[in-house]
């Protein structure tokens, strides 16, 4: 084979074959081991969970529809009341959405600063980058429920503890997503502004934000979606809103299942609604920028 055979001084085919076969065997071994470990973890994990659960998986499986059936049959019987009940609980829904909206707003602003201060090339105090990163790591790691419960103790019940708790977690989570975007910003524009004598704030506002805004908004919307759920969940532990009403009506059981159903419809509808709207809007925001 003239002209293209470049394998003159290279290792012989035999040694390549041997080396490759060794690699194949190693890969099969590791692959097999990984699979084995995973299967063992899954199976044994399932057994531990099954064992530590009150009811077993197989015994419970056929009853899975009992509870929804109870709720649905009662709700169906009293279906005429549902619209009125939904109106009754609408203010609670508004509160839940408000909690999500404010905490997303505050969290996004916090996340914005944390990410700018924690990104190489943009940070105002480059030495403090690790500090701001750790801060956002910790804020992200704390589950909302932890802060909410502590704040309920200090501030009393109501929407504010939930709002603060979700905002803190949101700031941490968004800071991470935002930094991934801002790490890829084009620093040329920032340098251009620096050369005119712009302050840090002006550089961020005019040089960075216009570049990252679409991605930031898209992530914020995604977070809003998540926060609606979070805000409903925190209601379960006393932070007000729809979650609180849902927990009570479910606790009462039969007799109030129509209320549970009404609240559930409100909550489900809201989640699906915002989910659809935001995912449509997010697609629009990010599709324009082919990379």
């Amino acid at each position: 084979m003239t002209g293209i055979s470049l394998s003159s001084a290279a290792p012989s085919v035999d040694s390549i074959q041997t080396a490759y076969m060794a690699q194949v065997h190693r890969r099969r071994l590791y692959g097999g081991l990984t699979l084995l470990i995973f299967v063992i973890l899954m199976v044994s994990g399932f057994h531990v969970a099954d064992d530590r659960n009150a009811g077993g998986f197989w015994e419970g499986l056929h009853q899975i529809g009992d509870y929804p059936a109870d709720v649905l049959s009662e709700a169906w019987e009293k279906r005429a009341d549902l619209p009125a009940l939904m109106v009754k609980y609408f203010p609670a829904l508004v509160e839940t959405i408000n909690i999500a909206a404010v905490s997303t707003l505050i969290g996004a602003i916090g996340g914005l600063f944390l990410s700018l201060l924690g990104t190489r090339g943009l940070a105002k105090w480059p030495r403090l980058i690790p500090l701001f990163r750790r801060i956002s790591d910790v804020m992200r790691a704390v589950p909302e429920i932890v802060i909410a419960l502590v704040l309920i103790f200090v501030l009393g019940g109501g929407p504010v503890p939930a709002m603060i708790a979700i905002a803190i977690h949101t700031a941490g989570a968004l800071a991470k997503l935002f930094s991934e975007v801002s790490e890829n910003t084009d620093l040329k524009a920032v340098e251009g502004l620096t050369s005119t004598g712009a302050t840090w704030f002006q550089r961020m506002l005019l040089g960075v934000l216009p570049q990252v805004a679409p991605n930031y908004v898209s992530y914020t919307l995604l977070r809003f979606e998540i926060n609606i759920r979070a805000s409903a969940i925190l209601g379960f532990v006393g932070a007000g809103g729809l979650g609180y009403e849902l927990r009570n009506s479910m606790a009462w059981g039969p007799g109030r299942f129509d209320e549970a159903a009404a609240i559930f419809i409100l909550l489900f509808g809201t989640i699906v609604f915002f989910d659809q709207v935001s995912s449509r809007y997010r697609n629009r925001l990010t599709e324009g920028q082919g990379q």
Partner: protein, 282 residues
């Protein structure tokens, strides 16, 4: 018919792990008596235990009267009451206590017009069911609808939360349970107030009693009906004899000093069942 494990559900009132610890001795005796593994479960609220009993995933629990009624109303055949706790003075009841902060100026339900009133768990007898029936009887015009007589009626989630909410001023008054024996300044002999005082959470000098219910029957120890008869018999005897066998263990299980347990039947709770049906509907 065989069972291969025995599952005991524990109602709220204490730290989940403290509850588990208090019941561990009972679990050990059960394992010994039945020869099967015994597991303890402490769900976050009353409803967790009720669902467990209904779904057949919990075999025994010591319920509140209203929680028993809730279970009974959803499925009368699923559990049967077997025992009831006897107080030191031989009585088998306790009270729902309405209370407020001294500095709030509230001294009776008359002062509560337009103010915020707090219940505990919706499935609690003293924290919701009985007060929601008896308080409106206090005088004409009181209802438990938010915005009617009271400015707002709220559920705090449990007895502890009610006490904290009152002492924080989140709510103007609330209801919780106490045996009604002993002194107010100690938080009575037993009950949620006493526990809060013991924990240094509240100073009873800052609190004032504004209402007290009639005697409420203690909740029953229930067993799942579907359990084999010999298991039911063994467990009834075990709990019944617990006080004689191991007073410390009985103290933990019954959350305080008692004279032990005595047999009880469904009839004892018929009025509570009726009350619950009236309030919550079925």
């Amino acid at each position: 018919q065989e069972i291969n494990e025995f599952r005991i559900g524990i109602l709220g009132g204490e730290n989940a792990q403290d509850r588990m610890n208090s019941y561990q001795c009972l679990a050990d005796y059960t394992t010994e008596a039945l020869g099967v593994e015994t597991k303890l479960f402490a769900p976050a609220d009353y409803n967790g235990v009720i669902q467990g009993l209904l779904g057949g995933t919990i075999d025994m629990a010591w319920l509140g009267a209203s929680a028993y009624a809730a279970t009974y109303l959803q499925d009368p055949s699923v559990v049967e009451p077997v025992l009831i706790k006897v107080n030191v003075d031989g009585s088998v009841g306790y009270h729902s206590i309405g209370f407020a902060r001294v500095d709030s100026g509230v001294t009776s339900l008359d002062d509560m017009e337009g103010k915020v009133f707090g219940f505990g768990d919706p499935n609690s007898t003293s924290g919701y069911l009985i007060p929601s029936i008896e308080i409106p009887q206090y005088k004409d015009g009181i209802t438990m609808e938010s915005g009617a007589y009271f400015g707002e009626v709220r559920f705090t989630g449990g007895h502890e939360q009610t006490i904290v909410a009152v002492s924080n001023g989140d709510i103007d008054a609330g209801v919780t349970w106490a045996d009604g024996q002993g002194n107010w300044e100690d938080g009575y002999n037993s009950g949620a107030l006493r526990k809060a005082v013991d924990a240094g959470l509240v100073d009873m000098n800052d609190m004032v009693q504004i209402w007290k219910s009639n005697v409420i029957p203690e909740g029953p120890v229930v067993l799942r009906t579907a359990l084999p008869d010999d298991v039911k018999a063994t467990m009834t005897a075990l709990v019944d004899g617990l006080h004689e066998r191991d007073a410390d263990c009985a103290y933990g299980v019954a959350a305080g000093d008692t004279l032990g347990f005595q047999p009880v039947t469904h009839e004892m709770y018929e009025s509570i069942v009726a009350a619950r049906q009236a309030v919550i509907g079925n």
